[in-house]
């Protein structure tokens, strides 16, 4: 082995290792990529939060780009996200469906009355079974669904104004431009 390699090789290995580990520092271990992205939205049929006699199902998503936001009144970051959803709803860019997850109806209705209602309609998932079918593991989660009812993106954690402006809205425009 040439003499200079003997010194350079370990240095190169060290730098490669350091770069790899440094990158690891900026990855959020809480983020679990969803295998549902690119797949049709799991079918469900649930009573509406607002009207227990009426139902919401995945058939409601067909023919338009829509969001499904998973939320609960016991979820602290949902409270932080709520004003962002209100703003997004006010722009009318995309209808927001809600999945009220493992919540109590009076509490949820009270929340919407108190903080405003950004949702087109809410599905009431009392026991969280639909949540499991959608791979929900930490509220809030937001699914972006295309015109054919296929999940195209999943946002885990609270949406922020920044995420909405830089990621969500461009994606919505892109999906709207697609053939239904």
């Amino acid at each position: 082995m040439p003499r200079f390699l003997r010194y350079l090789l370990p240095l190169a290995l060290f730098l490669a290792m350091a770069a790899l580990l440094y990158r690891g520092l900026s990855i959020d271990p809480r983020f679990v990529p969803s295998p549902l992205v690119g797949k049709p939205a799991p079918s469900f049929s649930l009573p509406q939060l607002e009207n227990p006699q009426a139902t919401v199902s995945n058939a409601d998503f067909s023919g338009k780009v829509s969001l499904l936001n998973v939320w609960a009144t016991w979820c602290v970051s949902c409270r932080a996200e709520h004003s962002v959803l209100m703003q997004l709803a006010a722009t009318g860019a995309v209808p927001i469906y809600g999945l009220n997850y493992k919540d109590e109806r009076p509490l949820a209705l009270n929340w919407l009355q108190q903080f405003g209602d950004p949702y087109h309609v809410n599905a009431f998932d009392a026991d969280g079974r639909v949540g499991i079918n959608w791979g929900v593991y930490g509220t809030p989660e937001t699914f972006l669904i295309d015109k054919r009812g296929v999940i195209r993106h999943k946002f885990t954690g609270p949406l922020t104004r920044d995420i909405v402006q830089r990621e969500l809205l461009p994606l919505v425009q892109q999906l709207k431009a697609e053939q239904g």
């Binding site: 679990v32 493992k102 949540g131 079918n133 593991y137």
Partner: protein, 160 residues
């Protein structure tokens, strides 16, 4: 009799030790051992470093119920695992599956071990060669040895 009661009370203390265990009705269809083995190899997505068996998180509770009910419906372990992987991804498994994206994870250590063994073998062979060379005398040394052996005793040796 008091001893029996005492023993019974002590046994009750074990209940909280079984973190977040639901009261399931185990039977031939859902043997407890099979259920326990299955939830021990599934990861709780909220606590991440705990299995469904260990975790007391709300989601872990829901997923345990889900697993139990699937078993009750007669599904195999693999069917239940597939059900969860379809929804939560490979992350839900403690043991990652073998596929192209995990080759490095599974084979990487053996690859590194191989490199280590190669270097070790090279090193041993090199040391052997050096040792053998060290045993040999240089021509000058050999000449001096020959001279000494052939020579009559030196003056200083005589005095002893």
């Amino acid at each position: 009799m008091p001893r029996v009661i005492l023993a019974g009370c002590l046994c009750l203390q074990l209940i909280p030790a079984l973190a977040g265990v639901e009261m399931f009705d185990f039977n031939a269809q859902v043997p407890e051992q099979r259920y326990m083995a299955l939830i021990a190899q599934l990861r709780c997505l909220v606590c991440q470093n705990q299995s469904l068996a260990d975790s007391d998180a709300d989601l872990a509770h829901d997923l345990r119920v889900e697993v139990y009910e699937h078993m009750q419906q007669g599904e195999s372990d693999q069917q239940i695992i597939d059900f969860l992987v379809q929804r939560y991804g490979d992350f839900v498994l403690y043991k990652p599956p073998l596929k192209p994206s995990t080759y490095l994870l599974w084979y990487g250590p053996f690859f590194l071990l191989g490199i280590g063994l190669l270097l070790l073998a090279r090193n041993i062979r090199q040391r052997g060669r050096l040792a053998r060379e060290a045993d040999k005398f240089s021509p000058e040394e050999q000449a001096r040895i020959d001279a000494l052996l052939a020579d009559k005793p030196r003056p200083e040796d005589k005095e002893v």
